[in-house]
């Protein structure tokens, strides 16, 4: 399974086990910036750790501090290996843009239809520098 995704924010090509979220998430209050653990007890993937995973986001709930949480995850070495978003979230992705400005190595963020997310569930996923999102079978 492979699809060519639009690159939203360039960064380091990534690979990791897919973590496909089944509900939108608020990074602020929803993800622990020190560990990358999903801390929102109401979220279906509560307790999962996003660090090192290829994170598929069906949507985000826009706290204006989401960017600070994502940048803090990058700084703490707990960022996802790559982010796959259904639609661009400017506030969240600002965290990657600013981390790049800081000279830190950041994961790529790409855009893919959320309908395609299920194809990657449970797979080891690679996001290549050209935006190709591939699942190892």
């Amino acid at each position: 399974m492979s699809a060519r995704a639009e690159i939203l924010v360039p960064g380091k090509a990534g690979e990791g086990d897919a973590l496909v979220l089944t509900a939108p998430i608020s990074f602020w209050g929803g993800v622990d910036p020190r560990t990358g653990r999903i801390a929102d007890v109401r979220h279906p993937q509560h307790g999962e750790v996003i660090a090192g995973r290829v994170l598929f986001l069906p949507g985000t709930i826009g706290s204006s501090s989401a960017s600070a949480v994502l940048m803090e995850l990058v700084h703490n070495g707990r960022a996802p290996a790559a982010l796959v978003l259904h639609e661009p979230d400017a506030i969240l992705l600002l965290g990657l843009i600013v981390a790049r400005e800081m000279g830190w190595e950041t994961p790529m963020a790409v855009r893919l239809e959320r309908g395609a997310f299920d194809n990657y569930r449970g797979a080891a996923v690679t996001v290549a520098s050209d935006g190709a999102v591939s699942a190892a079978v």
Binding site: P33, R34, G62, S67, A68, L93, E101
Partner: protein, 417 residues
């Protein structure tokens, strides 16, 4: 429609200094938002100086090292420390030191040391129709709705980048066509005595946020101007329960001289007719504590108290000693007035803990207390206190908060909607 930068903007963005970094951040955000261009702005209010982790401090210090300075008037929202020394903040090292470095970096960038979430009551009032870039949800909604200046919600990093570049992405509430109301929120069925009460506005704000969300409505059925502190409370509560950036009140707020003038079309898409039962449910929803015989503290001042609100507080306390503390959060602008005539000393002698530059839900001030109960008259504190402080919340009017603090147990006066 893709983003086009002016030659001057492109030249700045190519720089290796702090201004270049700021311009690239604004331009990249504009690209992700789908804005066709950047527009000049008249001022900013910066929410980014509240410590969430070391990376934010390092970012601000990198801008300072790169020689960046704000190019427009920029006030600061609350920080994590009370630099005025009114209250004791329990933030430990090394976070405390990093929070202090962060506040210092924003000062060096040229921001005003306002440290308040009510900058609009500290002399920062942009003109009707002007474009600005403000952060902090209550300040954004007040700026848009009550002042009629134009801003989106600018969060961490983008706020200071806009301040340095004096630019913002052209989208959202900067555009006239996006500021018109599609819904009507009609409160005409509520009693005049309820609408004149202090609790009306935080409770209605909480209901408005939940019903309207990020859409824009015009409130109808308000016959008398409720006063600026009431509008402040309404907006803060609305922006806590929903993603509200702008509201209108027919005959009260500047872009809505009447309903017809502000509706997007000849007819609203929906009319929300507020009933006393809806108000009762919204009011009950602001409290999370079960029936309780005692309270542990009262917190007021979200948004930060104005001097007029301190006058009310002092009148209600009437020199009595409080059995549990009232944490009264405010900014330096009000603190200076409190100190002029000995009001601060009188309030503190009664047991009021004045908190300046910050507030009790963004940094640890109140004691860690398993099963603690906090009473508040703020819809915003009611929303955030359980998650951020661990205290359960009881919502009440300021008068009931004061009586409860004097007695150490909850007192409620019935105010029927």
């Amino acid at each position: 429609m893709s983003l086009v930068l002016s030659p001057e903007e492109r030249a700045i963005a190519a720089g290796r200094d702090g201004a270049g970094m700021a311009m690239r951040i604004v331009a990249e955000s504009a690209r992700l938002l789908g804005a066709p261009r950047l527009i000049p702005i008249a001022s900013t209010h910066i929410d980014g100086a509240l410590y969430h982790g070391d990376s934010g401090t390092l970012f601000a210090e990198k801008l300072v090292e790169g020689g960046a300075k704000v190019a427009v008037r920029s006030t600061l929202n609350v920080g994590a420390l009370d630099l005025m020394g009114c209250s004791h903040i329990r933030l430990e090292e090394p976070q405390r030191g990093m929070a202090r470095r962060m506040m210092e970096a924003y000062r060096k960038l040229g921001c005003e040391q306002s440290w308040t979430c009510a900058p609009y009551q500290a002399g920062h009032r942009p003109a009707l129709g002007s474009d600005v870039a403000w952060g902090e949800s209550n300040a954004v909604v007040f700026c848009n709705s009550v002042l009629g200046a134009r801003t989106n919600r600018y969060g961490d990093f983008l706020d200071i980048a806009c301040a340095i570049t004096a630019r913002a992405p052209d989208y959202g509430l900067h555009r006239t066509e996006n500021r018109r109301a599609r819904l009507i929120f009609d409160v005409s069925r509520l009693s005049p005595s309820f609408l004149a009460s202090e609790i009306a506005w935080p409770v209605l704000g909480s209901l408005y946020g939940r019903e309207v969300g990020n859409a824009i409505a015009v409130v109808t059925g308000v016959t008398d101007h409720p006063g600026e502190d009431a509008l402040k409370a309404f907006g803060a509560a609305a922006a806590s329960s929903g993603a509200v950036g702008l509201f209108h009140i027919a005959g009260v707020t500047p872009e809505a001289p009447d309903v017809e003038a502000i509706l997007a079309g000849p007819e609203p898409e929906a009319v929300i007719r507020v009933t006393p039962a809806m108000v009762a449910t919204a009011r009950a929803g602001l409290s999370t504590a079960a029936a309780t015989k005692t309270i542990d503290a009262v917190a007021i001042g979200s948004p930060h108290l104005s001097h007029a609100e301190f006058d009310n507080l002092e009148r209600l306390i009437a020199g009595r000693w409080l059995a549990v503390p009232i944490y009264a959060c405010t900014g330096r602008h009000a603190l200076a007035l409190l100190e002029q005539d000995g009001q601060r000393k009188r309030l503190e002698a009664s047991g009021v803990v004045i908190v300046a530059d910050t507030c009790v839900v963004v940094t640890p001030i109140m004691p860690d207390l398993a099963g603690g109960v906090l009473m508040t008259n703020s819809g915003k504190f009611a929303h955030y206190a359980p998650g951020n402080t661990g205290y359960a919340v009881l919502y009440a009017s300021l008068a009931d908060c004061v009586e409860s603090a004097v007695l150490g147990k909850p007192v409620f006066t019935d105010i029927a909607a």
